[in-house]
């Protein structure tokens, strides 16, 4: 008898504990990002950005739950299930890793909870009903590069990219754009972040002698292939990098070899250098000063900016959704998703978003900015 009573008491306690977060009925944001593992370089700055999130949005208190997916798809799916079924979150944020974010999308659609992806993941049509991307699609970021090529009269280009989803996405997105402009792809080479050398690839690319070479890599990993090309005698001014590489780490590791090269980037990293007409300038400056006040000068990067933008998006969507339902209910989650799709043009620090039912990437074509490296810092190419 005594044991039965004990079990009942324990059960009551457990159930009570499980319901406490619900009783508060605040807005709950469930975050699952890669804080360890190979893409922790993206997850850690994102977490620092999340640390600066406000205490409340539209008068509702924010509950933020951050989980680590260890760059592991299975772990990311587990986290998402836990966030949706146990914590009853109103919105899921993450992951920064493309394959993990893709796997999470299914769970979010099943749980009818909107997902704000921190990775520009391409999903098959019909699969991204509940998933919205915070980063720009590679197709949008390819625009400033191809525009520059057109301006300079580039006729051929080579491709040196990661042998993973990021590299593949860039290849499939830039090919049609360049083709339309009459620019031919002459050589495609791959490498992995952990490789110690790209001599073989660089030799082949340099021998093909294209007018420009696109390097697709991220963070400090983008410096090694860049240096490899320069070492084989390729001109620095003809090398282009993608927005994954638009961090100061590229300049720190690449040093003199990246001087004069080009990088396609979102506006936030160079906010203060943008022309005043740019819709993201004020927000970008606001993000940069807040982030660098907390984390030191030169620490702001695009991953932290995406975390900052999550708040901007919610600040616009939550008041709309609140008119229909209270947080913590399935109705609120559905209303939030509808709000994302109908709220229209939303300037954020990384560009101008315009999500619709059909387009969950939503960045408008004017989003991308072409940067060049001059004297160890970014310079906006006009």
């Amino acid at each position: 008898m005594k044991t039965t009573r004990l079990i009942v008491t324990a059960l009551a306690a457990v159930i009570g504990a499980a319901f406490t977060p619900l009783a508060l009925a605040d807005i709950t944001i469930g975050v699952s990002i890669s804080l360890t593992g190979p893409t922790s370089a993206l997850g850690i700055p994102t977490q620092k950005g999340i640390a600066l999130w406000p205490k409340e949005i539209a008068g509702e208190k924010l509950n933020i739950i951050v989980l680590d997916d260890a760059t592991d798809t299975t772990k990311g799916v587990q986290n998402t299930r836990k966030l949706i079924t146990e914590d009853k979150v109103d919105v899921v944020v993450g992951s920064v890793t493309t394959p993990v974010a893709v796997a999470m999308a299914d769970v979010c659609a099943e749980g009818k909870t909107a997902q704000l992806m921190l990775s520009p993941a391409n999903l098959p049509p019909g699969k991204d009903g509940w998933s919205f991307r915070m980063p720009q699609s590679t197709a949008v970021m390819a625009i400033p590069i191809v525009e520059q090529w057109k301006k300079l009269g580039v006729k051929t280009y080579g491709f040196l990219g990661y042998s993973d989803g990021y590299g593949e996405a860039w290849l499939t997105d830039i090919k049609p754009l360049a083709e339309k402009a009459g620019i031919k792809l002459v050589d495609t080479e791959r490498f992995a972040r952990a490789d110690t050398t790209v001599t073989g690839q660089a030799l082949k690319l340099v021998a093909a002698n294209p007018d420009a070479i696109l390097v697709v890599a991220s963070g400090s990993g983008a410096a090694m292939p860049h240096k490899g090309l320069v070492e084989r005698g390729y001109a620095k001014g003809k090398i282009y990098q993608t927005h994954g590489a638009a961090t100061l780490d590229l300049i720190r590791v690449g040093g003199a070899d990246v001087e004069g090269s080009f990088v396609s980037s979102g506006p936030a990293v160079v906010a203060e250098k943008l022309p005043d007409a740019n819709a993201s300038k004020a927000l970008g400056v606001q993000f940069k000063s807040a982030f660098e006040a907390a984390n030191g000068k030169g620490s702001a990067n695009q991953f932290a900016a995406h975390a900052f933008d999550v708040v901007l998006v919610l600040q616009k969507a939550v008041p709309i959704a609140l008119k229909k339902a209270r947080p913590g209910t399935p109705e609120f989650r559905a209303a939030l998703k509808d709000a994302f799709e109908t709220m229209g043009r939303t300037p954020v620090s990384q560009g101008v978003l315009n999500w619709t039912t059909a387009d969950h990437f939503g960045y408008t074509p004017e989003t991308g900015v072409l940067l060049t490296v001059a004297n160890g810092d970014w310079e906006v190419v006009r």
């Binding site: 360890t36 190979p38 922790s40 370089a41 997850g43 850690i44 042998s163 080479e189 791959r190 490498f191 992995a192 972040r193 952990a194 490789d195 110690t196 050398t197 790209v198 001599t199 073989g200 690839q201 030799l203 082949k204 021998a207 963070g219 400090s220 990993g221 410096a223 090694m224 780490d249 590791v253």
Partner: protein, 346 residues
């Protein structure tokens, strides 16, 4: 492909092969003496390169705190052990001093020297000291109690140690990569080939290390003791050779070789906290050539791995790793045909 391209690829392959060769030697050494398949060998490479990178920034690298913590932990275990076995106080104290003295001195030196940004060679020497001392402590804490376990158990422990060291690497060095300054910043042009100072440095260091290891095993008592342990553990023990001492020594050597490799390749590429694993794995493929037993065959295998990698990155860069790691299958086949069925598991 013309001759000059082939020449450049060959040079690049042999340069990388030299580093893989050093790692292969360390893996063979550790396996021969302790029967441990030492997967974390590559972690020492990353630790070496990144510890130096932090010295370059004028920061105290986290690896010294790891060193101190491991030394303290193993001192505590030794103390408990000694008390339980009722050893005399004098022997206990001597043991503790032996465990703690070197790590304590190196830590103090590091904390003092790090902000001064001294010459690259001083920093390198200190880096070597830190990482080398980690080796015996890793053996003491992770493997010594299990010294008589099966190869499989030791392999599983190795996987655990690998994950622990990689995770700690992320804590110490952060997620972004570093590139170290070159030891010797010159370039020699020989036709289409350019030989950088660092390449020459890699060759010279590899050859010196191989010769030094040869002399160590052939000429010194300790080296001979290691060889004896490798041939027959029980026999060596009966002859008064401490097998745990031999284990620590071999791990110390492995850590030293790993750290040195890290210093050698640090200036030629960007090293991340988790870069070591793949580099170590290629060393492992090379070690398989020698059946985890023969040093010359392992070194030869390493050169082959390096050259194969270099040429496959030219011809089919998307399949480079596939080609390199598939190499292990024909090698295993060849070795098993050569030896026939091997019942002598242990």
């Amino acid at each position: 492909m013309d001759l000059s391209v082939a020449g450049i690829l060959l040079l690049d392959g042999v340069t990388n092969g030299a580093v893989y060769g050093l790692l292969a030697l360390a893996i063979v050494l550790v396996f021969a003496v302790t029967r441990v398949i030492f997967i974390p060998q590559g972690e020492f490479v990353a630790y070496g390169a990144l510890t130096l990178a932090l010295f370059q920034l004028g920061k105290v690298p986290g690896t010294v705190w790891l060193l101190l913590a491991l030394a303290a932990l193993s001192a505590v275990i030794d103390l408990v052990d000694a008390v339980r076995r009722g050893l005399p106080a004098k022997a206990v104290v001597r043991g503790l001093v032996r465990t703690l003295a070197a790590p304590a001195i190196v830590t103090a030196l590091t904390v003092w020297v790090a902000p001064l940004k001294l010459h690259l060679l001083v920093q390198s020497a200190l880096t070597l000291a830190i990482v080398t001392l980690l080796g015996p402590l890793v053996y003491r804490l992770a493997y010594q109690r299990l010294a008589d376990a099966t190869v499989l158990v030791l392999l599983i422990v190795s996987v655990g140690v690998h994950f622990a060291l990689t995770g700690l690497g992320l804590v110490f060095f952060g997620a972004e990569g570093f590139r170290n300054p070159s030891f010797w910043d010159v370039r020699f042009a020989a036709g289409p080939l350019t030989l950088s100072g660092q390449t020459i440095f890699i060759f010279v260091a590899s050859i010196v290390l191989i010769v030094a290891l040869f002399l160590f095993f052939e000429r010194t008592l300790r080296g001979k003791a290691l060889r004896a342990t490798a041939v027959n553990r029980l026999g060596a023990r009966l002859m008064g050779i401490s097998t745990s001492g031999a284990g620590k020594l071999s791990f110390g050597l492995a850590a030293f070789i790993g750290a040195l490799s890290g210093l050698l390749i640090g200036p030629t590429t960007t090293i991340f906290y988790d870069s070591g694993f793949l580099i170590g794995l290629k060393g492992f493929v090379a070690a398989i050539f020698g059946g985890l037993a023969s040093y010359p065959a392992a070194a030869l295998g390493a050169l082959l791995v390096g050259v194969l990698e270099s040429f496959s990155s030219f011809y089919a860069s998307a399949f480079k790793e596939v080609i390199v790691f598939t190499l292990i299958i024909p090698v295993l086949l060849w070795r098993s045909f050569q030896h026939g069925p091997d019942d002598d598991e242990e």
